[in-house]
Amino acid sequence: MIELSMIEIQGLRKQFGDNVVLRDVSMRVAPGEVVALVGPSGSGKSTLLRCINLLTLPDAGSIRVGTHEFSYLGAATRLPSDRVLARFRANTGMVFQHFNLFPHMTALQNVMEGMVTVLRTPKPEARARALQLLDKVGLSDKADAHPQQLSGGQKQRVAIARALAMQPQVMLFDEATSALDPELVGEVLAVIQSLAKDGMTMVIVTHEIAFAREVADVLVFMRDGVVVESGPARDVIDQPQQAATKLFFSRFHDTAPQSGVCH
């Protein structure tokens, strides 16, 4: 029996002006799978992630997330309407490098916003669920705090709760810990890890190789807009096959020698 994948991407292409950022990228993610997207900057990994929820519209290719499908059959395909795009995006949760919390709302209101505005959940119900989610990310005592009163790690955890509130089929993380002070990275990674345990399908763009090695099922290594190598995360990190992958991970193995000897 073939299991239906949660995310299916085929022949994705994107260019900004003359700069081709994605060339014919295909990828499948099974339900409950955690995929780490890794690669040097400018490799197209963030663009690929942003294509999955159509924050960036690809020039060609097709994307399916759960039951929501989106494809370009050719250059003549018309752009989908605002409403269609919005419905597609509501199905995925996204967490950004710079948190992008709404500063005019409290943590609780941030988490409620999508439920109330997009899902039309009645307020008392949205409130109860938002409180649950804040509790889940360990911030129930910060419900009434505004974003500017929170640390970076707390902001990012609120942002994760805000994304989870939409009950998305897939969570996307775009360098979620890159803007954090080193001592705050752990609390955010712990939340992501607990989501993985709950069986959430996730695609994570990250520079935290040790974390990817531990949490991700699959690692996709990208360079210059193509997938260079992909496979089980530990295998790709510990025994990379391609020259570019070897070079990239050699730095990681130099600075963290213990990770190579765990077999």
């Binding site: 929820n53 924050l55 605002d82 409403r83 795009l85 919005a86 419905r87 597609f88 995006r89 509501a90 199905n91 995925t92 949760g93 996204m94 950004f96 710079h98 992008n100 919390l101 709404f102 500063p103 005019h104 916003e113 999508g114 505005t117 997009v118 500017q148 942002a159 805000r162 994304a163 939409m166």
Partner: protein, 219 residues
């Protein structure tokens, strides 16, 4: 040495009070209409459609780059000839002042909206909000806070600009003062008094703006 004497002005108190009421009335109308024009032009300039964008840019350029006094005169004396319609002085003056103010309001509104970080609307889009919802729930509430002090500043300018409506014989504060001067030949006291009356209205307004500015700094 000139002998100051303000006493005679007491006789003209109701004339000057009417002038002040007219000034305030025109100000309210010009602010309300100006904000409406400014909102339309400000949002229009941010539109995806060129047919919306270019006429709005043209309007703003035209009204920012010509003197408001010329606009009032043109609306009263020239526009009726062009359109073959009768236009009351009040209508011409309010229309000109509102369009003039609207051009400046629109730049404040446009600037306020584009000053909101792109990450804000991206986060809202990622939640599945439509363009309208993003504007209504995320961008405008934040932009409004930043816009309020400059919008109030521009509204103070609107009040001061209403002093120009006397050119088309509307009985505002300046026009009434001119009438008093014609009768009494005492311009110094009369014009000093109306300057003080403008001051009395605007000093509290500017201090309110300062307070608001300080509050929006802390956000």
């Amino acid at each position: 040495m000139y002998q100051w004497n303000f006493e005679f002005l007491w006789e003209y108190r109701s004339l000057l009070a009417t002038g002040l009421l007219y000034t305030l009335g025109y100000t309210v109308m010009c602010i309300a209409l100006g904000l409406l024009f400014g909102l339309i032009a400000g949002m229009g300039q941010l539109s995806h459609w060129g047919v919306m964008r270019w006429p709005m840019k043209g309007y703003v350029e035209l009204f920012r780059s010509t003197p408001v006094l010329v606009q009032i005169i043109w609306f009263y004396y020239a526009l009726p000839v062009l359109l073959g319609i009768e236009m009351s002085p009040g209508m011409a003056a309010v229309l000109a002042l509102s369009l003039y103010g609207g051009a400046f309001y629109s730049e404040i509104i446009r600037g306020g909206i584009i000053s909101i970080e792109v990450g804000q609307s991206e986060a809202a889009r990622a939640l599945g909000m439509t363009r309208f919802q993003i504007m209504h729930r995320v961008v405008l509430p934040q932009a409004l806070r930043r816009m309020t002090p400059p919008l109030l500043n521009q509204s103070i300018m609107q009040l001061k600009n209403t002093s120009l409506v006397s050119i088309v014989a509307l009985p505002d504060l300046v026009y009434q003062a001119q009438a008093v001067v014609h009768e009494t030949y005492r311009p110094l006291e009369t014009y000093t008094l109306i300057a003080l009356m403008y001051l009395a209205v605007l000093v509290p307004a500017t201090s309110l703006i300062k307070r608001l500015e300080r509050r929006s700094d802390t956000l």
